[in-house]
Symmetry: C5
């Protein structure tokens, strides 16, 4: 999520920033040294020849391909579903803001509409804090009247509390006679969607890919990489460390990327930019009621970096 502009194919080969290579370099160096030792000692260690024909490795390779393919797809789907949920959060809060402006019988710059929009922004931030297990307090007090912020702060499921407040807000418009039950239902339809977004994010955060998959893949990858030098030493000689490190780069690299992608709400480099997206939602909702965001929104198409 760091480098955006299209790159020349040649320069792309030597990019360092944003590469997974940074993370796995020590492991690759170690694997390289190990391979060098295997080549150096071949046939010499205690008069026993540990090298072997590479055929058995292709059998483990089949299993590896299935594991890697599956775990990669499942993780990317989690990542992309999480992104879709936050995209849907953007769409739904925009729709609710539009409804508050044009269907509630109130003018766009009335304090009630402003409260409604700030509740939506607070909803976004509390969801972010819940998913990252950080403290929502400073955002709540920044966005909401103190008494409301305090009451929400007490709850265990803060976004759901705010959802209830949004429902009460709509109920009040109805009691004032500004809206009838048809319009109330149109609002309610979007509140249902917000409820689904919270539940969807909780589902991804609370239910990881079953742990045995991670273990099976992780162990098979490392067993494979460390058996590789023994299988290649006879046919490849001093080229062995090169091949082993290349293969190790591909497999360990994928294993490492997948571990980041798998939990998309974390704080690792390739996780979702929840901070950037929260600020973007704040900025677009405030623009709709002609207020300005308290920070400079980044230029389009390049701001989703946490």
């Amino acid at each position: 999520m760091i480098v955006r502009e299209k790159q020349n194919w040649l320069r792309l080969l030597f990019v360092w920033r944003g590469s997974i290579l940074k993370d796995i370099l020590p492991r690759l160096v170690f694997l390289f040294l190990f391979s060098v030792l295997v080549v150096y000692f071949r046939g010499k260690l205690l008069d026993y020849d540990f090298s072997f024909n590479p055929v058995p490795l292709t059998f483990i390779g089949i299993a590896l391909a299935i594991f890697l393919g599956f775990r990669n797809n499942a993780s990317y789907e989690r990542f992309w579903e999480a992104r879709k949920l936050w995209g849907s959060l953007l769409n739904t809060t925009r729709s609710l803001t539009r409804q508050a402006i044009t269907m509630s019988g109130l003018s766009a710059n009335s304090p009630q509409v402003s409260l409604f929009v700030h509740l939506l922004i607070a909803f976004t931030y509390t969801l972010k804090h819940q998913l990252r297990q950080t403290e929502a307090n400073s955002d709540l007090t920044r966005l909401l009247p103190t008494s409301l912020a305090t009451s929400i702060q007490k709850g265990q499921y803060k976004p759901i509390r705010i959802l209830k407040e949004l429902g009460i807000w709509i109920q009040q418009r109805k009691q004032e006679g500004h809206i009838d039950s048809v319009t109330e239902t149109a609002f309610d339809y979007n509140l249902n969607k917000l409820s689904e977004i919270v539940g969807g994010c909780e589902r991804i955060a609370n239910t990881p890919i079953p742990f045995p998959y991670t273990l099976l893949l992780h162990r098979t990858v490392y067993a494979y990489c460390y058996l590789l030098p023994f299988g290649l030493v006879d046919s490849s000689g001093w080229m062995t460390p090169l091949f082993v490190v290349l293969t190790g780069y591909a497999f360990m690299g994928l294993d490492a990327v997948v571990s980041e992608i798998e939990e998309p709400f974390g704080l690792e480099p390739n996780d979702l930019a929840l901070n950037g997206m929260s600020k973007m939602i704040e900025s677009t909702l405030l623009e709709m009621i002609d207020l300005e965001a308290p920070f400079l929104p980044p230029p389009h198409n390049s701001f989703f970096i946490d």
Copy 2:
């Protein structure tokens, strides 16, 4: 679903808890001893050489890759769809609770709203009991007035009975003049969703992956693993048992994980944490009407362990 915190890549290689290795260890030991015997006796048994070229194994390997890939994907999709249905159950019961609080014309702490919320909680528990074929009685009597509990207990399709009671509850609000048919329809929309959740769970529980797939895969995996030592003994000698056990770990391990994942409503280690999710739904719904759950809800992001 047991180990949550990110682990060091090195320590991950030696985790025992939550590993499928526990379950398949006896089979791997047996396969190991079998391979040792094959290597020891090669060429000696009745003057007949049972070893062979490993090429034919790659042909069976193609079939194996297709079977494993398919059954793994289909099983994981069942698991994840089941999880989505329970996530949807959470969202929909929350939405219905919000509707009961803000749209029914009753206050959040009225006994009727409390009954409605307890019906939703009872719905959740009876669905869990139906899927696991356990007895719903104790949860029904804990949550509902005795007469209602008794009447629901008699039915074969208990969640559907509760759905009908929820419909009657809404009908009563309409007869009291608190809601009109528009609001009734907004409630009804979410009751339809609950109906879809029950049916979706029943579908997964009642229609397994066609049995011949399980047999084809299971038999091909074991035939493959037990032919492997004959194919490798000539080229790999005393390294054979190591390769066979590694390959066996990968294939038998996946076969075993998939068998658990496939029926996500069971009680095996990697099945869905229906107990944890039911308690979570109880706790979040009660919080919405300012009641406390009769048990300590676990901290976020780490409680879905049955």
Copy 3:
């Protein structure tokens, strides 16, 4: 769909009931004898050596893997979509029954509600009969008043006729002043869903996977299996028939399972249990209006066997 309880991994290797082996055994025996002949005659037939290097088989193997993987996935998706449509039929008829009980202004045991529910049950049975091209008459006369049964029996698209009757039933409630157009629309929403279910089932029944796929796969599988003994005889000798039969079991077995799964509304062992599901819908709808099904509904989680 026959064996449900979890089986010991060892016993699973020797299950006969529900195995596809029953269906393809004669073909495997024939393939076995053919392989024996190839091994016996190698190099002897007219002084010409028909054996060859197995490498070319791996090239055909790539094509085979793509065909099998694709056709298997496409067939299973058809099977599972058909199952989802019938699951949706269950959910929607339950929702319509709940609506008839709680939203039509009639009591649950009124004759009109009973007619409505019996129309839904008749809808289910006529859909089953249409998909299996069997005679709906006996079920229609069992469930509906004679005049109605006769009029529906005459139509070519019977489920659509019943859908129209359901629409007329709702129209009558409106004309009686029991429901307004909002409630009528809530009913109508679920009738739209029934219309989608009929169309979805017709789509799967009327549009098979394009025939050339079936031919391409079927022919490649058999060509591959019958070339295999020539490719293996040099390297594997008398082990050849064993490998050939194992590979044949895997590929021919998958080809045979897929042919059954592909047309999920048929009567083969692995097709959908439309009888069981129809009875289950009848039983759950009747329970909702406190009537008993005319047959003993099977215990949960084990009844979807036709």
Copy 4:
């Protein structure tokens, strides 16, 4: 889509009708002769040996597997989505007809309802003509009053014009006081769906799979097939032409099927049976208002042949 009844596995090997073999036979014959020449001249042509080790072919084979697998899946998804859109067209026109009969305040045999149904049928036929770029005029004049047919005929987007007429029809019912805005909205919901069906079909017709994919796959397939004889001649001798043709049958056959499936609205043998489906929609809608189709509708489950 031509052969429907289940066939004996043996007879299936020799089916000619509906096979793709018809289309690619000349190419296979040419490939066969080319292979024969390669075998005949090996080592002799200008004293230079053009044969080579088949290993490099496996490297191209990896790319081929990815291309074929991808393009096949993407094409089949286009085919199946197109089929789903036409299935949805059937469902939605049936639902609109049911709504016109039971919710418009008009009787099923009134001229207005008949006009409405004929507009739906004309919608179906104009969509078919737009997708196949054929002339809609004869169907329009057959189905609609002359003035209406003429006015629609003038438009560039005919189905959208008819959609507008359907909207005007509903508006007239409202102006007559037969329906209120709730019922109008229920109709409108299904008109939105028709709009989505038109747009979905236009999307598939207007946006093919990006052309470079087709080129990459097509060229790799043919390069692969024509290199194959050089790679196999050393190890397989006079068996080479057999293997080459078999592999060519599989790869060229898939390439040819995929080209047909990819554009599902065309007129090739495996494209969608838009004529059959249009007639089926006409027949089922007319049955709902007790009119007869002007042609004999084919028996169920066997009529989708164009």
Copy 5:
């Protein structure tokens, strides 16, 4: 997206226009020359033999197949989802136009309806400009009254501003008494959809496939292609450059196509034809209110070329 008509299989082999070959030709020429050097110097360079057995390449090949397969699928899904969003834009603007004509109580040629339709067209163009980061001003002033164009021009999120204007337009119809809240909700339902379309496009534009995937794939492809000549030189001699270039064409070609497809809103040859689609939406909406588009709309089924 350039060549539409079905081509003869033979001519398809020699198409140049629209081929990715144009883009990667220099890289292939370089790879070819590199391979020639490898073959020429084999065994001679400093008395050290750099050639090696090709087996290790198959191990890297497994990783390559997983990477290429995944990135290709993920990119194509992005491309196709983006296309679906623009298809949905077409459907939804058509539906809103139909609603404005038939449900707003205004006649199709009233200035208000014309304003509404022009707002929809302006919505389409501003979305295009936002996604391509181009200047919306000329289209805004062409389509909208100056004051409105100026006010929208000032906003950062222009399509959302127009969405708000559409909401205000509907509100005005309600205040005039032309529509009730039911019809307002029917409009609002489609405005929600437009909001989802904007958010969906922003999601695809702002969240690329995680960058490490691109790097891992790109580097593995080039490492693989440049190691290939060393692995093939021993067995293939002077045929090596041919094989290397063929394999390089397949892998580098796919890598290059995928890079274009991945960002579907760009201006490269295989990106979406946003200009063509915007004009098509303008033309079809104007036709619905009997106005003519200010440009000649291209003939059907061949106009989506930017």
